[in-house]
């Protein structure tokens, strides 16, 4: 299992801050597609971090157990 974390405007849509996901053979891009189907996130400009590093949304990296995927809306610090 991997953990998916949601922040800001995205957490508002998903209505939770994190959830577990079964990762067997799942690519980052597939994972995003699944989440997009589930939550319809298309209205938000989402960035993706895998284990705290930004990755491309189309990344074909395969997820492993204990990976942490984060869906990040636009940054607004400062």
């Amino acid at each position: 299992m991997a953990v998916i974390k949601y922040f800001g405007a995205i957490a508002e849509v998903t209505n939770c801050n994190e959830e577990q996901i079964e990762v067997s053979d799942l690519k980052v891009s597939d994972c995003l597609e699944l989440l997009n189907e589930k939550y319809n996130l298309n209205t938000i400009d989402v960035s993706v971090a895998l284990n705290q590093n930004l990755v491309d949304r189309e990344s074909t990296i395969k997820l492993s157990d204990n990976d942490e995927i984060a869906l990040l809306p636009p940054f607004a610090g400062g």
Partner: protein
């Protein structure tokens, strides 16, 4: 890992205390401080009452470490501190504090501007602008 995130507003007393701590460093000739203050912007007839900041801290800290390391390599600084608020910060309160110190004044300006801009751009901080009627919108840095 240096402390960056502060729950609640960054108070004038906190800023004064940071300045005071640097008065024992007698090689410093110039400090430059940037403060970000929450504006009561009016958006479609609604006034911003405050911003509720959240952060992906596990990702933010290594990014902030990199930012500091690169800034020390690029600029000739004696000290550098970055603080950002989390939680709800009201209009008029300070949510962002960048503090740079160097031997001479010419070193500090570019470093401050660089740090402010890179923190805005690279650090995963999220801001919910809460209006006076309690509705909200999500802040986006340009």
């Amino acid at each position: 890992m240096k402390k960056v995130f502060i729950n609640g507003p960054i108070t004038p007393a906190f800023i004064a205390n940071s300045i005071e701590k640097h008065q024992s460093k007698h090689s410093i000739g110039a400090h430059n401080i940037f403060l970000g203050q929450v504006r009561a912007d009016v958006i479609k007839d609604k006034t911003v009452a405050g911003i509720d900041f959240t952060c992906y801290e596990d990702m933010a800290h290594p990014i902030l470490d990199d930012i500091r390391e690169k800034a020390f390599k690029t600029f000739n600084l004696t000290c550098m501190h970055i603080y950002h608020s989390l939680g709800e910060i009201k209009a008029g309160e300070v949510c962002f504090f960048v503090f740079v110190s160097a031997k001479h004044s010419k070193e500090v300006y570019a470093a401050t501007e660089y740090l402010v801009n890179i923190v805005k751009k690279k650090v995963p901080i999220f801001g919910k602008e809460i209006f006076e009627d309690e509705s909200h919108q999500w802040k986006v840095n340009k």
